[in-house]
Amino acid sequence: MHIVVCIKQVPDSAQIRVHPVTNTIMRQGVPAIVNPYDLFALEEALRLKDRHGGRVTVLTMGPPQAEDALRKCLTFGADEAILVTDRAFAGADTLATSYALAAAIRNIDRDAAVDLVFTGKQTIDGDTAQVGPGIAKRLDLQLLTYVSRVEQVDIAQRRLRVQRRAEGGVQVLETRLPCLITMLEGTNEMRFASMDNMFRAARCAVRIWDREAAGISDVSKIGLKGSPTVVSKVFAPQARARRAELIEAEGDAPRDLALTLINKLFTRNPKLRDAIVAQPS
């Protein structure tokens, strides 16, 4: 089975801090990481490979330094990595990005037929969740979004069954290969890289494709030109006046939970007790 996993390099938002005095965002020194959602996709792909054999190719479109993100995926056990990079891709929105990635996957498919494409649910910097579906549409692949588990793959019958988190429950869906899965977060746990894979990853040559190598001739579909999305305004949402508070309870017996809550209320409002007592019954 040949699985392609699309990943993206993003700034580690967990490490972006707000300056305690000036309240400005401190971007300095924030490291780039693999989009955390994509790691769930990669882990699921690696599990399928463990079960059924085959190979996993990781693919990204991005600046040259995105190679680091691909190498990280190699340390976890991906077999091959392809970086699609070209100045012509700069300024791409989700439409142009899915166009470029779809072209690259078509290219990969010519070498070795692709059975399954994975993407993360969304990225932590763009948060659109559009690129995966965009690729599926362009490549005419079956599309399964918000997948929490791949239950079964029948390679001979070229069928696959997954669990999909939907509002109010879990859907069990079955479809045929090839297909594209966008993987939900928190559904598996990324394995630890073995020492052998770390050495292999460092030695492995990442394949670098520019626009032509990726098989793209129509420049009007990529980069800024191919991106109809316009950012018209950026604003910080108004902080809501009402505040929520998390009250940590000791123990989980209903009685303890209630006691914690009541104690909190009474300490907060010293007059509450008198007010209640004073109430006519």
Binding site: Q28, G29, A193, S194, M195, M198, A201, A202
Partner: protein
Amino acid sequence: MSYRAPLQDMRFVMQELAGLDRLASLPGFGDTGGEVVDAVLDEADRFASDILAPLNRIGDTERARWQDGVVTTPPGFRDAYLRFAENGWNGIGCDPEYGGQGMPKLVTTAVYEMWKAANLSFSLCPMLTSGAIEALMLRGSDAQKQMYLHNMVSGKWTGTMNLTESQAGSDLAAVRTRAVPAGDGSYRLTGQKIFITYGEHDYTENIIHLVLARTPDAPEGVKGISLFVAPKFLVRADGSLGARNDIRCLSIEHKLGIHGSPTCVLSYGEQGGATAYLVGEENRGLEYMFIMMNAARFAVGLEGLAIAERAYQKAVQYARERIQGTDIAGGKDKVAIVRHPDVRRMLMRMKAQTEAMRAVAYVVASAQDAASRHPDAGERARNQAFVDLMIPIVKGWSTETGNEVASLGVQVHGGMGFIEETGTAQFFRDARITTIYEGTTAIQANDLIGRKIGRDGGRALAALVQEMRALDVDLATLTGADAQRMRALLARGVAALERGGRHVAEQYGKNIRAVAAGSVPLLQLMGVVCGGWQMARALLAAQRRLAADGGDRGFLHAKIATARFYADHVLVGAEALAETVIDGGDAVLAMDEAAF
């Protein structure tokens, strides 16, 4: 109780102070370019913080248990060990010929710091295994290497070091375990070893013990001790496990700290003699131990650094959360205690000493790489002399300082620091062993004044002093109050070290008891000044990077502030220590022994 490896500082120290880039050009390290190192550090951090750190408290409360000779490690430890081995961590520093990764000492040092900070009790098993591997690499026969090393490097089997007996701790010459030739080339051991770390456990199917013992006609004292290898299960020629050897775990100790690590009493030969094989030649066991001592002592020195880092992280977290009192400068609002100047002083002291220890340890690690791999024999020798001189400092000073930092961590927590749930009390208790095992601080200091200074008339130390002075040229180019203050205090500290060292070198042959009375103060003096030297280099590198607009400005400014703090609060004490070294001996010895 979370821990994250301080990767930014680790990388800064490795690159700016310990010459990581230079290492890649040494023969044998060609494969370990920046990419592998980055991946290894990132993954080690994940393993340490996700797997090992959460088990630390479980190890403390659940403890290793003994029943009828069988030792059960705390819940989760065995699984963690199996994953650790499976991912190839056990052999990262070992010879590739036996399945290791042959990574430079500098890299394994950073990785070991993470294991030790995350879970000291856990880290001791791989540490002792690598000690045993080193012994076999050093003097094992080819057959012994083939029989044991592959499985020990992979982590399928673990190793131990059996030195201590009840009457032989600091003084190993007093070892009494007997080794009698069996006539077939093997020996039969009888005797009792105490305090054997991971001498028995449930991680693996076999344990390979390295044991110091005496043969029947061995000379008295240090020249009559031999080194043996004795597996828990005898290993057949085809590598499969044979009979259980005559070695029994009689009990494990109840300890102040490192509760997760079983500390075993091992009885050899209750059924007539444990089968053992000589390593190297008879009567040369202690000599081999001395060769391996550097690695073991260095590793324990890292424990001081590691616990300090862990305690610091915990203290910072608490100081940000704990609301108590108002700002001394005024205002009605209650503030987090991190606002109080004295809490800041404690946090700075923890941070500055931790970073100084890291810098010193990593620089010594890098010198160990150069000492073993540099193509030029002169460079190898120069680096080896530096390493030999510094080992007692990394071991003695870092562990003493680690205790101080762990104690400050308790203090920052106020009353909660004294209460076990907080977790910081554990760091304090765990740190306490580090100045004791692998040679107490006094034994390190004896080594420093004797083998490292007295024996060569202070030449190696003089060379170090000269190297420290050479930094002044660079420091002089820096502007700014921080750099100037550091420069002035470093010059005074180096002069103090020179005075103290010279005193020891001169008086060593004349007035040995008085010199010995000042040996630990000298070790502290040297640690404090070496720390200052490295913090000065860090300040220099940070200012240069800032000037070149290279890197995280927040981190670099913090580094400069930390170096300045170190100068004003720690390095400034060097002169006082020198006075104690020079003049304090008589007062130690003045009183009659009976008057205590």
